[in-house]
Point group: C2
Chain length 349, copies 2
């Protein structure tokens, strides 16, 4: 609890998991995804303004813990995120996350937020935003292969942002598909549960893969992918973890967030280090070509980049100006005299 | 506030500024410094076990924001810390910090703690720990040049850990010295306020410099430093910020925490990239020589390393097992079914 002598400078707004859930439900999840995509698009369009670095990863046998920092002239943001595929079997989340937004001018944090939910939202919003630029015209059916924690967020983002009206679900575990069908049943989407990956992609102009194994897997084989589709590849996001057969990559035009990171973590870790890829921010600014024709296969090799988290933190920081979905956290020592930290400590009996 | 359906896994113990102050005062600050130094020493003595990386810094014209991660086989820790010299004039702290300790095996955070106070404590504990190995035998007088936020913590750490009984204070701003004299008046130390740096080092076997300008300064000139002293140089800790004249460095034997970081940030940024330095963990393990003779000048070129923060977080994490100086924070989304993040969100109305 705050102590009586603490100054307002000592407090950082904290958005808990419960606050985030209330904020999402109060606003409406499709509205959140649409608004969030606008923040992400605005930041992609000023890409050169950001300090960028590949994420700082600490790998162990069981998973990875990462810090993803970035900054513009005004704000600094970072996300802490883990990835532990074995967690699910032990009743933990594969991915949990939290993040901080700070003021560059004085270094003080201005927001601490849960980001497990927020990461799912920003990943889905980014996918749909990218598809807005790359998916074939009139694509209204999406295959969703991998029906885990990301699945429903992807479905609703594509509905809200790209006009998708039908999703075809497949997972190696039918219970996962069943859960997704139930969660999506009252969203207005047509939901089709499929018994194979091949079945799921039938008639789909957009194929989303979001599986979670920390392995080189082949969720899509070459013969499954026909001309003209857009592939939204979410799951291949760390060294040694891919979802697509290499032959699909060489038939596609590949679009990425930040090449130095994607070459380490994305599907393109299967290709040569200088294999040509297109940066999405350039497509959004009209400096590079997106989809060229109806038969082209476009591939978003999504790994998730720090700027998307930065956009998400900016979004939440703005959002809580109007909504009381936060609590002040006594996180920063702020003595009356900045040089008298010792006096502040010892006078607090 | 926690919501009724959240599981215990969702909560992370949070040690606020107020909790930290209460913990320090309840335990006694000298006892805290001594216990903390033991954690730091234990971790220095198993140095090769840690994942080490130089801090990840984001520089702006006005300051720096840094992330300092490290990990052993069991825990991962990182600290967020800013350094904004101009803050003090605007009524903000030059340095604020917080940190997180996590489980390597599942990636879940197990502690979020304020670290503005904790950093001051760990910096002082490290300085005194190092001096225990390097200071001349029987040194009981310390000069303390720079009487800002770090000053009193340094004085008490050297009292508790090295047996220092007299501190001679000097600051360019007499008000800072006055504050330190007042804060230290009832600690049992003999306090001498001095009007010049030259005066302060009179008879001192240990010289601590902890000033805060983001500039190449010369707090000590060559002719001020006589044979046989130990210099504890705290303030030179980022590129372009040093406190000692280069000639002092070449007359000293230099001891550092982590060479790749110290060469960028420490006093030795003034020297050649391959200038010989000794790593402190090797001294503590008896693998390298510390002080050789009574006339040698030893210099601890302190910049602060992630392992010290890791030790400090371990210390606090253990400490709150016995003391209720924390609150549970609803920071991690933890659905009953790990794959059903969406259901958890949308069912919370």
């Amino acid at each position: 609890m705050p102590h009586p002598i603490a100054s307002p400078l000592a407090f950082v707004p904290f958005v808990s998991v419960d606050d985030m859930m209330k904020l999402v439900n109060k606003t409406g999840i499709e509205k959140v995804l649409t608004e969030l995509a606008a923040y992400i698009e605005a930041d992609f369009k000023r890409w050169p303004e950001f300090d960028k670095t590949p994420r700082v990863a600490s790998h162990s046998d069981e998973g990875v813990i990462e810090l993803m920092p970035t900054a513009d002239a005004e704000n600094y943001g970072f996300k802490y995120v883990n990835g532990h595929p074995k967690n699910m079997k032990e009743g933990y989340q594969t991915v949990t996350a939290f993040g901080v937004l700070s003021s560059v001018s004085n270094g003080y944090p201005i927001l601490l937020s849960e980001m497990t939910i927020l990461t799912a939202l920003r990943t889905a919003a980014t996918s749909a935003l990218v598809a807005k630029y790359l998916a074939p015209t009139g694509a209204t059916t999406m295959a969703l292969i991998g029906n885990g924690a990301q699945c429903e967020f992807q479905a609703l983002a594509f509905k809200a942002i790209c006009g998708v009206d039908t999703v075809r679900l497949y997972d190696v575990d039918p219970a996962a598909t069943e859960k997704a069908v139930k969660n999506l049943s009252s969203t207005g989407l047509n939901i089709v549960a499929c018994s194979t990956g091949q079945d799921a992609i039938e008639g789909a102009g957009i194929i989303t893969t979001c599986t979670a194994d920390k392995l080189c897997a082949t969720i899509l084989t070459d013969n499954m992918v026909g001309a003209g589709v857009h592939i939204n590849a979410i799951g291949g996001d760390c060294p040694g973890k891919t979802e697509l057969h290499r032959d699909i990559l060489t038939r596609s035009d590949i679009f990425v967030e930040y090449p130095p990171q994607t070459r380490i973590e994305g599907e393109i870790q299967q290709l040569a280090e200088d294999y040509p890829v297109t940066e999405l921010w350039q497509v959004m600014l009209g400096q590079a070509e997106g989809r060229k024709d109806a038969r082209q296969i476009t591939l978003f090799d999504s790994v998730g980049f720090a700027i998307e988290d930065f956009s998400a933190l900016r979004f939440i920081s703005d959002k809580i100006k109007d909504h009381p979905f936060y609590e002040p956290l006594d996180m920063l020592a702020d003595p009356d005299d900045p040089r008298d930290l010792f006096g502040m400590v010892t006078r607090r009996k």
